[in-house]
């Protein structure tokens, strides 16, 4: 039997045999123990060879086996000829080798980079061209200059500026944060210049950035840089770069490259700048890639205590996992750092920091719930903590926070706005007959338009702090301007008294020094405009100030509606009746409250708060006004019990108190935090109204019969005790303390009126107190014994 040649065996191992050749060899193999042994040996050899190649790839020793590569100084010299004299090899990377060389013609040091070739057919030459072309496009002081491209035969090389410096992270050792930042900003400037030319570096790392002794960085090695042209991203099938500085999209197929890919590497540099540590310190490539793709780096401030938080946020923002969430390019990152250095507010809120916070808060809230269920926390404490956590995880827009903060600049802004509003309002004080009619409202119109335009522009430019200031001013100006324009230009002025009503404005003008009379319909239109713009601004900014403006505008609009329709008025036909007016606003108050409840249940607590608060305030004010008026809501009490007007009115207050307690009960049933807070407020109002009224009804000098006063005198301690013991049910401190106060006033009343001569009275009080205290001591024991007996 003729055994095949070694070549066949080798090709069989490498799976290069095909078709008939393969079938024939396999048939032979089954019958031939010699070839079987050879195949086994060849397989072992192949395994060893793979190992040899693996070690060979990264080490200079094996590079000498590669005929086509420049590995030694001598060999490099042989390519370069006379002009360049090679001094030493300075570096070797995946892309090729770099030598320090003297240019004997120009008498200067240069760096020469030879590209590594995988095989003679490989197009490394074109890569050399590309790198040189890209670098020569970038004429920037912080990017190493390309002088020329050499081409001795197959081996092309790039002659570059020699940078005598240290790698970035080496260079900034011992430097202050400010100095480090200055170097870093120069690096950003260089990369931004590349980004402007649609070039993505792809391999930004400390060893590719050399810092000279003047602390000037130079970005090198555009060996794997890409040109994006007009494309936003480039899809590349292969991973290229340095593992520790790779962005998630660079190591996750399908590989996509954006300018933000460089931003990620720059973020890692910033992290190192701040902490002297890598954000992803994993050593095994697999673990490292996993970490880059899905893990959060440790907070820089956890490593170095004194790190400025805005810088930390900028760094974390640059390290976002999703490229879209990072700064889009190096320039944006640089702008943000410049903003920080100018002392301006930094808006960057890295999502993975907030995600981390969300996660932590989620666990904490779970714990809180357990603690609350186990009565380690009272309901109120639980609510307070919950509200804090809620603010942590869904804070208002940072610009809104800024707008709320009374910084000097913000105070100036609001003050200016307020003066503009006042200035516009002063235009009502005269008829301005000396000015042509069309010019009269113009200052206010111009101011309003300016405010609206500036506000909108600022909002679009993310200057929320200023935008809120301008829009709030515009919001106050809108009703004034509308009204002024309508009045001065006499639009709809004939509709002043459509139903014979007197103008509100005329009545007001009698009271104050006010000359420009406006019609009710004009008031209606201006308040309507105000409401519409308030809602519009609310929709744009979502700032709670506009919720408040909307509510006020709504109430103003409602008032004009009532006046026009004659439901309230000042003229003789409809006399001024507080109870009627209060009645008109009671139901809108209830409406606002219900709207607040609905929004609250739909998780719009942000809008629900002002609605519910204003709603409850309206309800309380209206009910109090009604109770105070002649025809009380509980006037029937007067008829039934033949009461005096004042007595009936006061009793109405007590009844209101009972209604507040009922409303508190409803709020409690609704169960959200906002409702619980409202219930808490109402739970104070209820007892205070009830006990306060009972106390007042017992005052001497009131037109209240003695028998009734006696009833109130007895009712007060009873109600007080009821509140004290009622506090046990839901831990209501409001009940408890009002009850205690009620008891105190009752004791005072009894002492002054009836028992001031009896020494036994205070003694009996003291003894009763002591007995109660003992009872409280023994009560738990009795309860426990009773429970045991029952079980026994």
């Amino acid at each position: 039997m003729n055994c095949p040649e070694q070549e066949v065996i080798e090709r069989y191992i490498l799976e290069q045999l095909k078709g008939q050749e393969l079938t024939e060899f396999e048939t032979h193999l089954q019958a031939c123990p010699v070839c079987k042994a050879k195949v086994a040996q060849a397989r072992e050899n192949e395994r060893l060879l793979t190992e040899l190649r693996t070690f060979g790839k990264g080490t200079p020793e094996t590079a000498k086996y590669n005929d086509t590569e420049v590995a030694t100084v001598d060999r490099a010299q042989s390519f370069l000829g006379d002009r360049y004299r090679v001094i030493r090899k300075v570096g070797e990377g995946a892309a090729g080798q770099v030598f320090q060389v003297i240019d004997t013609v120009l008498e200067r040091l240069v760096a020469i980079k030879f590209l590594r070739q995988k095989s003679p057919a490989d197009g490394a030459g074109s890569e050399a061209w590309r790198e040189a072309r890209l670098m020569s496009q970038l004429n920037h002081p912080n990017i190493a200059q390309v002088y020329e491209i050499g081409e001795p035969g197959a081996q092309k090389f790039i002659v570059m500026e020699w940078v005598d410096g240290l790698p970035l992270t080496e260079a900034w050792k011992g430097l202050q944060l400010q100095q480090r930042l200055r170097i870093y900003l120069d690096v950003l400037d260089a990369v931004a210049a590349a980004h402007r030319r649609d070039i993505i570096h792809r391999d930004i790392k400390p060893s590719n950035i050399l810092v000279t002794s003047e602390l000037k960085p130079k970005v090198l090695d555009f060996g794997i840089a890409l040109e994006t042209r007009s494309l936003e991203s480039i899809k590349q099938g292969v991973y290229r770069g340095t593992p520790a500085y790779s962005a998630p999209e660079q190591i996750t197929p399908p590989v996509e490259i954006y300018p933000a890919t460089d931003v990620f590497a720059l973020g890692i540099l910033l992290y190192e700048l701040l902490t002297d540590a890598l954000p992803f310190p994993q050593t095994e490539p697999k673990e490292l890639f996993q970490a880059i793709r899905s893990e959060y780096p440790e907070l820089p401030s956890a490593i170095q205590e004194k790190i400025p938080i805005p810088l930390q946020n900028i760094c974390l923002k640059a390290l976002e996992k999703e490229a879209q969430r990072r700064y889009p390019n190096a320039q944006s990152l640089a702008d943000e750092i410049h903003r920080y250095l100018r002392g301006e507010k930094i808006w960057s809120r890295p999502s993975f920091l907030t995600d981390k916070v969300h996660q932590e808060v989620f666990y904490h809230r779970q714990k809180l719930k357990v603690w609350h269920d186990n009565e380690l926390l009272t309901e109120r404490e639980f609510d307070k903590l919950e509200s804090i956590y809620e603010r942590v995880i869904s804070p208002p827009d940072p610009s809104i926070i800024e707008a709320r903060k009374l910084s000097l600049s913000q105070v100036c802004l609001y003050l200016g706005g307020w003066i503009v509003v006042l200035g516009s309002f002063v235009l009502f004080y005269k008829t301005w007959e000396q000015i042509p009619i069309y010019w009269r409202p113009t200052p206010a119109i111009a101011a309003t338009a300016l405010m609206v335009i500036l506000g909108t522009v600022m909002w679009r430019r993310n200057e929320g702090r200023l935008a809120v200031g301008f829009l709030a001013t515009a919001n106050l100006l809108i009703p004034i301007t509308t009204l002024l324009t309508l009045a001065q230009w006499e639009i709809l002025s004939s509709a002043n008294y459509p139903w014979g009503m007197e103008s509100i404005s005329e009545i007001v003008a009698e009271q104050v020094n006010w000359y420009l009379i406006v019609g009710n319909v004009q008031l209606y239109i201006s308040s309507w405009c105000w409401l519409a713009f308030s809602l519009l601004f609310l929709r744009i900014t979502r700032s709670s100030i506009f919720v408040l403006f909307s509510i006020i505008a709504f109430l103003a609009w409602l008032t004009t509606c009532y006046v026009i329709s004659g439901m309230i008025g000042f003229a003789e036909e409809i006399p001024w009746r507080e109870d009627i007016i209060a009645g008109r606003y009671l139901f809108p108050g209830i409406g606002l409250f219900i709207l607040g409840v609905i929004l609250d249940r739909r998780r719009y607590a942000h809008y629900a708060w002002p609605l519910c608060m204003v709603g409850v305030a309206l309800i309380v004010i209206c009910l109090s006004v009604i109770a105070h008026s002649d025809s009380t809501l509980f006037g029937w009490l007067g008829f039934v019990f033949a009461l005096d007007k004042l007595e009936a009115s006061l009793l109405s207050f007590a009844c209101n108190g009972i209604m507040y307690l009922g409303l508190a009960g409803i709020c409690r049933l609704l169960g959200t935090r906002l409702q619980r807070t409202l219930a808490w407020i109402l739970n104070w109002l209820g007892p205070v109204h009830i006990l306060g009224t009972l106390r007042i009804l017992d005052l001497s000098g009131l037109p209240v019969s003695e028998s009734h006063q006696l009833i109130y005198r007895i009712l007060l301690p009873i109600a007080s005790f009821a509140f004290v013991f009622g506090s046990v049910v839901r831990q209501m401190k409001s009940f408890f303390f009002s009850g205690l106060a009620g008891i105190a006033t009752a004791v005072h009343k009894f002492t002054v009126e009836h028992l001031d001569k009896f020494f036994a009275w205070p003694v009996s009080l003291i003894i009763t107190g002591i007995v109660w205290m003992f009872v409280s001591w023994l009560l738990p024991r009795w309860k426990a014994n009773l429970a045991l007996k029952r079980k026994g």
């Binding site: 080798e10 040899l52 095989s119």
Partner: protein, 193 residues
């Protein structure tokens, strides 16, 4: 440098006190410890110191009869000593003196803390040292043309036809050269360990 197996070196070390024997032992194992120390983040000087200390410690232990060839590979034993020496040295060096740039050759390794990674690193270094020595020996032993054919075809991955043409030999001869060198390498590797 002549070909010596680990067994030979150890035998000599046990019986002879000559400086030459000590130097041979150091030539044999010192580079691997130096490389390993560099990978663990020591500077060149520190790595040399660490290697020296490892050699001395090993010799002491070996002469004291603490190392028994039957019980484990020399590689493992030397690893234990080197690791202890290097980590000890690392912990007493200020941070500035440790290699800092994590992207260069020493890169990844200077923050290695877990045993698995350190062991893996050592195994790689050791294996590389063994294979390099075997390659050197094979180059000495075998016909230069055979070895060149192997280098060009197997290591540089030059197409087989180009190699055959360049060295004026048949394709089959190139394959045979590859097979011969690799088989010899495997034998040498076995001998060395």
């Amino acid at each position: 440098m002549r070909w010596v197996t680990t067994t030979q070196v150890l035998e000599e070390l046990k019986t002879s006190n000559e400086a030459q024997v000590w130097r041979r032992f150091c030539d044999h194992f010192r580079p691997v410890v130096v490389d390993f120390a560099r990978r663990l983040g020591l500077s060149a000087t520190d790595a040399e110191d660490a290697a020296q200390e490892t050699m001395v410690e090993f010799l002491k232990a070996f002469r004291g009869g603490k190392y028994d060839r039957e019980k484990g590979r020399l590689s493992n034993w030397l690893f234990g000593v080197a690791r202890r020496v290097i980590l000890n040295l690392r912990s007493h060096r200020p941070l500035e003196r440790l290699v800092a740039d994590k992207t260069t050759g020493t890169s990844f390794w200077d923050s290695i803390q877990d045993d698995h990674s350190i062991k893996h690193s050592w195994e790689n270094q050791w294996r590389q040292m063994v294979l390099t020595k075997c390659l050197e020996q094979a180059r000495r032993e075998l016909d230069s043309k055979v070895f060149e054919a192997f280098e060009l075809y197997a290591l540089s991955e030059m197409p087989v036809d180009d190699v055959a043409q360049r060295l004026k030999m048949s394709r089959n001869a190139v394959y045979i050269a590859k097979s011969r060198v690799l088989s010899r390498l495997r034998e040498l590797e076995h001998q060395f360990e």
